[in-house]
Symmetry: C2
Subunit: 229 residues, 2 copies
Amino acid sequence: MQEPPRPEHLRFAVLATDTVLITINNGELLVRLVGVNRPPHFVDAKGLPGGLLHPHETAEQATVRHLTEKAHVDASKAYIEQLYTFSNVDRDPRGRVVAVVYLALIPWEKLSAIEKTDTPESWWAPVTQAKKLAYDHDEILAVALARLRSRITYTTLINKLMPREFTLTELEHAYESILKTDLDKRNFRKKILKLGILAPLPHKKSGGRFRPAQLYRFASEKVTEIEVL
Amino acid sequence: MQEPPRPEHLRFAVLATDTVLITINNGELLVRLVGVNRPPHFVDAKGLPGGLLHPHETAEQATVRHLTEKAHVDASKAYIEQLYTFSNVDRDPRGRVVAVVYLALIPWEKLSAIEKTDTPESWWAPVTQAKKLAYDHDEILAVALARLRSRITYTTLINKLMPREFTLTELEHAYESILKTDLDKRNFRKKILKLGILAPLPHKKSGGRFRPAQLYRFASEKVTEIEVL
DNA sequence: GCAAAAGTGTTTGGCATACACCCATGA
DNA sequence: TCATGGGTGTATGCCAAACACTTTTGC
């Protein structure tokens, strides 16, 4: 097989970043998507936010910039960690693009009203419905979710998705929505409290027509490695 | 501060791979190093094997090629997994180079006589003595060792460093040399055997002037995620 | 018989799991 | 008073951790 000819400026690999930006709203895991219109390959398509690296910025800086420019979310408030670098030769039909992909997490609470808004350019989609994405973004999303699932079981990563104050039930629901399993309420509480990563707050959350719930916060902002579940 | 001018062909990021190739010989963790001579920055220096991507190869293919060309080790026999992508703007003083770094593991047993040989071009060094490497390779090696340490505790990754047949004591020593801890012999045996990842062989290893040891092999070539230690 | 490494068992405590009912609140 | 989610304890079994001596072999 002969390689089809490519324009000279695309012959060598070009560096890009893509970002899987995740949040939780109402116990539902959401991912930020953007519209993709790149005829002839992608028309009225959707994908993950991303773009090329500038010559003098790191991949992580490029990620933050593209989230702002394309996803319209201020990523300086988000937690970002590198996920994987995708270098398949044909992952972009227009030319050779290698993508350094980041996983970004942000609590719904930290988003501004505008950032919560869905527009035709960029919007929040339930991860279960983020399918048929452009390029290799279906694969990237799958890798990101697998990593997220794995990491929350042995690190305190979930705190990057939780609001500052939350009840134990809300925390349990967050785990359940990511892991897609049911947890035992009593055992979950015993375990998570024994870890000592939570601090109780002096006030409770009332508002439902039921008993007020004790509020907690994470004792540290840091993501540390301890067996959580 | 003004950026120093750079030659035009280096203004955009160039893609490279570097590889941390690890083996174990005599219970000692070794890493493959190569000579680095890039005046004026690096003279008579040492570093990890690596190099630029060709336009039509993936990063992983480039890693295998560079291991052959520069480290003189046939990497098609090695286990390779992506480690991290380093994109600091100044990691290479000659220009903008982004490196996709791989962790590669190979049992000493699988190396040919030539591949075991040390030359001024490429050699095996105890990881404890691989210091003052060129570029950001000290940092890369540290990340690689941390990853290796972490992964062997919750996956069966160590089998990619073991010979086909080994005794339980040899396996225990492999864990100990990577983790830099002592393990309890009786507890280690109980645990590793209960996991069911090892299969006893019909023969024993004699040769010392002491009791012959039962030989084992890994039941599967695959690296799977189970709590090992 | 001795040096060297192989091989083996028990006790203890802590932790995971399974499981069901009462409590506080607002409507 | 009722509907709703908040909050709690116990019994069981498994597993991790600590710990020392006997066995087999070659010299």
